[in-house]
Structures are given as structure tokens and as C-alpha cells.
């Protein structure tokens, strides 16, 4: 008797998404199917405007498709109620954006802790506060920002900001890290350093989906797919699911 096949971590099926640009519909995703296995590092390549970010937003539950679904551990996230979808984004997914998207009024440490704070109520937070701050401090230190905890984003370099954003994405120990052009706004050296951070996380078993237009960056991933004309095509290495 054989074991039933293990469920993939994330499975997107027939995703369609249309935007309106200047009154004209722009069909960005035209039936995207994608499977992400636990622990893998997947890169989605595509030209600017190909819908990479849109795909990532759909996988992360930040946007809704017109058609199709995204199954997380076998459950369609778009069947979730608003509260559950918010919790999915907060605890199961971590976003890393090209432009870092840190809150300018808060320090590096506070930006990281914020993601942990969102899932806590006014009453439960005092009990969690110390542990959350400690974990945030450790994460930032492990990313080489131990001496930058109390700096606001405008006092940090691009690479430092992106590392703060990575720490924020990881604070709630999400199953899936979604990175949107994480090196796109950085110089080559700093981009490489960020990529090393991702490689390190991957070695520790972190599942990563990264979208990029840069073949060299995508080369670091286990598997590469190409988004063309609204559909996923085979990339350099692995196959389409």
C-alpha cells in the first residue's frame, strides 16, 4: 500500500486577472497554474508589466482574481472570510517588496515587531511583547542589523532597509516568503548580499517564491518559470505544473 501523495504547500489554478488601463481592459493573467512545494525556492521570471507582481499579490491573498483559486494546504484562500484572509497574510505569508515598504515613522525594530503586533489584541500583547521584541532583535542581528535597531528607515541604506523588510516578513515564521523584485532597487553588490540572505533562508527550509526580471537573480532559485502573455511557461530548469 503506497502513501497518498503529499499536498503541495500552495497550488494556484487557472488564475485570471484583468486591470483597466485608460478605459481598456488589460488581461494580465490568463489562466496561471502553479504549484509550490514546501521548502522549494521558485523564481518567476518576466518582463516589466508581465503580471509577476499581480501573481505574487494573488498568492499572498492581497488581491483577488476574477477566476481561479489559490489552495493553501488544500484550502482555497479566496473562500476565507476577511478575518481569516488577513490572518493568512499575517501569519502564513511574508512579503518582501522591491521598494521595501517600511513605515517611515517607526524604527527598524518597531517595523519588524509591527507584524507580530497586528495579530495580538490589546490584552494579549503585553504577554507577547517581550518575546516578539526579542525575536525581532535576533532576526535583525542575524541579518547584520544588530546596531541599527533604533534607526528609522530614512537613516538606513537600501540594502539595510531590504533586510529590515525581510526580518519583518519572517517575524511570524511564515510558511511562505513572497519576494517581489527584492534586489530590483539595489546595486549589484547589495543585491548579491540580499540574495545570499535568501539562499541562507532556503537552506534552513524556508519556502520562497520570488519574482524578478533578472535572469541572474533567478538563477539562484531551485526552479524557474517564465510569465509570458499572461501564462506561465517553462523557465531554464524545471517544468510547469
Amino acid at each position: 500500500m503506497s502513501n497518498p501523495p503529499a499536498l503541495p504547500l500552495l497550488k494556484a489554478r487557472d488564475l485570471h486577472k484583468t486591470y483597466r488601463m485608460g478605459g481598456q481592459p488589460l488581461h494580465v493573467l490568463r489562466g496561471v497554474d502553479l504549484t509550490v512545494a514546501g521548502g522549494e525556492w521558485l523564481a518567476v521570471l518576466g518582463a516589466s508589466g508581465s503580471g509577476k507582481s499581480t501573481l505574487l499579490h494573488l498568492l499572498g491573498g492581497l488581491d483577488r482574481p476574477e477566476e481561479g483559486d489559490v489552495a493553501y494546504h488544500g484550502e482555497n484562500i479566496f473562500d476565507y472570510g476577511n478575518g481569516k484572509l488577513d490572518r493568512y497574510r499575517n501569519t502564513q505569508v511574508g512579503f518582501v517588496f522591491q521598494f521595501y515598504h517600511l513605515l517611515p515613522e517607526f524604527t527598524a525594530l518597531e517595523n519588524v515587531v509591527m507584524a507580530a503586533q497586528i495579530s495580538s489584541s490589546l490584552l494579549s500583547w503585553p504577554g507577547r511583547r517581550k518575546a516578539a521584541r526579542q525575536r525581532a532583535g535576533e532576526l535583525l542581528a542575524s541579518l547584520g542589523l544588530g546596531d541599527r535597531l533604533r534607526h528609522r528607515p530614512n537613516k538606513l541604506s537600501g540594502g539595510e532597509r531590504q533586510r529590515v523588510a525581510i526580518a519583518r516578513a519572517l517575524i511570524n515564521q511564515p510558511a511562505l516568503l513572497l519576494a517581489d523584485e527584492p534586489t530590483g532597487n539595489l546595486d549589484a553588490d547589495t543585491g548579491r548580499q540580499i540574495l545570499e540572505v535568501f539562499a541562507g533562508l532556503h537552506r534552513q527550509g524556508q519556502t520562497i517564491v520570488m519574482v524578478t526580471h533578472d535572469e541572474r537573480i533567478a538563477a539562484a532559485a531551485d526552479r524557474r518559470l517564465r510569465l509570458e502573455k499572461g501564462r506561465l511557461a517553462l523557465g531554464a530548469a524545471s517544468g510547469v505544473n
Binding site: H101, L103, E105
Partner: protein, 505 residues
Amino acid sequence: MYKLLIILRYLRRKLTPMFAVLAVTLCTAMVIIVISIMGGFLENMRHAAQTLEGDVIIQGDMTGFPHYQELITQIEKMPKVKAAAATINSYGLLNLEDGLHTVEIMGIDPEAMDKVVGFRQTLFWTPEKIRESLDRHAPPADASDIAKRNYQLQREFLEKLNLADMAMKLQAPPEWSPRPRNDSEQPDATREVKPAPAIVPGIHVGGSNIRDEKGQYDFHNNRTISSAATLTVVPVTKSGGLLEPAARKLIVVNEFKSGLYAIDANRVYVPLGLLQEMLRMDAHADVDPETGATTGKMNPGRVTGIVVKGVPGTDVNALRDGIYQQVKTFVSSHPDTLIYRVETWEEKHSTFLGAVLKEKFLVTILFSFISIVAIVMIAVIFYMIVLEKTRDIGILRAIGASWPGIMSIFLGYGLAVGIVGAGLGFALAAAIVKNINAIQDFLTRFFGLTIWNPEVYYFDQIPSQMNPVEVTVILIVAVIASVLGAIVPAILAARMNPVEALRYE
């Protein structure tokens, strides 16, 4: 928890919310100041009216009612009554040094009246007031010795005078009283000078008292005190017919100031007995109108009203009802006592007090409309804040914040702006209300601006009184208004598409 942190941080680190706070502060302060001044004005009016009339007034017609002493004795036995005094209200002509004036005459027994309305306190020229006035006009250091000596003599003389005591007796001192005349109408030095009856006019009866720009009166300008004034009245019969006018020369011994300009410019106080006599309301032998012969009966003295003061803390309406019952019983046993009204001081002055009350209400409504402008301003400022924070909203949604969470951040922000603004507004209003007269003096002295002209308004000082209940309501409304102003921007923020918010430039 994150919402509170964000609210506090946004509030502390941005200039824009400071404008919203400023809008709430100014609006709150403005409404509190206006309400306090109007309230103070009303309260001063009420106080003035109460010091003139007591709590309850028993009113007869112009010909008066008899047996008043008996009625007063009965009323004073009532547990809630502190004191009662008989009065006569009439009208007449007063010939003062500066001309003839129509006046409202009130005949009183000053001691009895003092127990009811604090008559002594309304007397204007006290030794302190005279001293203050003289101090303001002391001759300069380089004045001539004669001027200084004259001033000193005048001062010594005036300081010895006790005008308040004279007014409490309504009797002029012998040295001011006219000397009796002999048969050839010449002053007779051999006859004893009897103290003449006195009169106490309101401070604005006649034109001798002029307020300076600070609202003060100067005694050295006063040409009325110690002068003789002729009072003329026309007695009326019960059937409404007029009798021979009666005129008496009276000496002005003091002036009173109630604070109500209409009273201070028209009323004069004279001894009750004298007015009874002049109006033929004193006790007199009954005359048969047919024969003109006396009937052997005595008609008792009459008055036109009785003023009553309740014990402190008495409900005046309950007191009025009690007195009404007492009067009703009294009238049934004394059919010749015609009393047509028992009313509280507030009822008697309801037209005037009602006007001020309505004015206060109107001003409150007007300022409420201005506050609506403040709400719109807050809405606009908050909309700007939401636009400014659009990307933050996207970030927070991306890391798991819910739309109600985003909405509550902006509503909480509105609440915080409201609380801080209302608090600062209260502090500002309290500081201004407390020092409003000092502020006005400052403006007058340095910029020549007179906001409150004491020559025009009823009171020397800008009246103000912060009512804790009104202030609390204003503060609560200010906070609610801020939250209302934040509602639309908060909804817009909550409904924002997180992906578009993240892309917002």
C-alpha cells in the same frame, strides 16, 4: 494594539494633525468663551434682579392694600421665609440740580429692605469708594501748597461722612437739612434744624455720574450728594381719580447701583412713611364722601407690594406657591386687601431675562454652525492625512492588518485629535475667561481697542462664568465632532485596495 501605537506616533510626528488639533482647540475655546460670557451676563442680570426684588413679590395695584404689617408678620412666620418688607412703587418727577427727571419711586424701610435684598450692599458711595476716587485724583507732587491743603481738607471732610449710614436711615444730617423759615420766609436761626428726609437715587438718575473708560465713577465729579431734590407725586384714588400733586424737598444722601442700567437710571428710594403720606396712603380718618365729615373710623396705611426673601437654598417656585396660599387665606379674611399677583423675581423680569436667555441660545446655535465648519475642516485635513498615509495603509494591509483595523486607526486618530484639541481648547478658554478683563485692559491700553464698553453695557466688567455642565457638554461635542470629521476619511482608508495603496506615489 498596533493601532494605538500608530495613532500616537502619527499624532506626534506630523504637522498636518496639528492643524486639525488647532481647529478643534480654537472652536472649543471660542464656544466656551462665548457661552461663559453670555452665561456670566445672564447670571449677573439674575443676581441684580434678585438683589432688587428679593425672591417673591406680592403685588397690589397702585392704590395699595392695607393690613400689610399683619400679612408680613404671617409670612415671616412661614418656615422657608427669611424676611419680608413692605414697599410702595409709584412714579413721579424729580427735580435734581441738572433738571427734571421722570422717576420710578420706591418707598422703603431701609432696615427691613436690607434684610430682604441686601439694600446696604447696593449703596454706591462707601468710604472705600470715596477714598479710591480721591486717590485717583490726588494733586501731583509739584502742585501748589494751597491745592494740596484743599485736597487734604476735602479728604478729611469726606472721610468723616458716612453716606451709607445716612442712606440706611434715609435721613439727611442736620447740617445738610434746610433751616426752618420764619413767617417772612427767611431762615430762622433760632429754631432747631430737624433732619430732612433723604432720597437715594440710582447712580444714573440725572447726569452727574459718568463712567470713565475703566468703568469707574469719580466722586469729585458728583454734584448730586448733599443737594436738595424736589420730588413730586400725584396721588390716585381707588376709583382712579387724581388728587392734588404733592411735592417734597429731599436731600440726596447716597446713590445706589444695582448693576441693571434700566433700574439705576430710573429708580429712587425714599422713606416708606414719607411716600405713604405724599400718596395719601398713610393711616387716616375715614371721611364720608357725601357729607365730608369724618366717620370716626380709621383707614389703615397702605403699601403697593411686599418683597420676600426665602432662606438660602429655598426653591423660589415652591416658596411662591406657599406664599400664594398664605395670601389667599389672608385675603379671604380681609376682603379690603386687594392683591392681584404673587410672583417670583424671575417671573417679574421674565421678558428681560428671557431675551438674554434667547440671545445665549441663538449665539450657541450660531457657533454650532461654525463648529460644523470645523468638522468639515477636520474631514479635509483627515482626508489629506489618509492620502499622505496611503502607502502605509497598503503596507499594513500587506502584513495582515484588517480593514476594520485600518478604519479604527483613523477613527482613533480623530478621537485623539478631538481629546487633545478639546483639552487645549478648554485650557485656552479657561485662561482667557479668567483674565478677560485684564486682556481687555491690555488691548485698551496698548492698541486703544475697547471690546467691552462699560459706558454702553450694563456691567463695568466683562461678566464671565464657566458652567461645569456646559463646558463638559462642549468638550464632549468637540470630541464627537472630531470623530465625525474622521469618519469619511476613515471609511475611504479602510476601503482602499491594498495593491493600489502600495503602488501609490
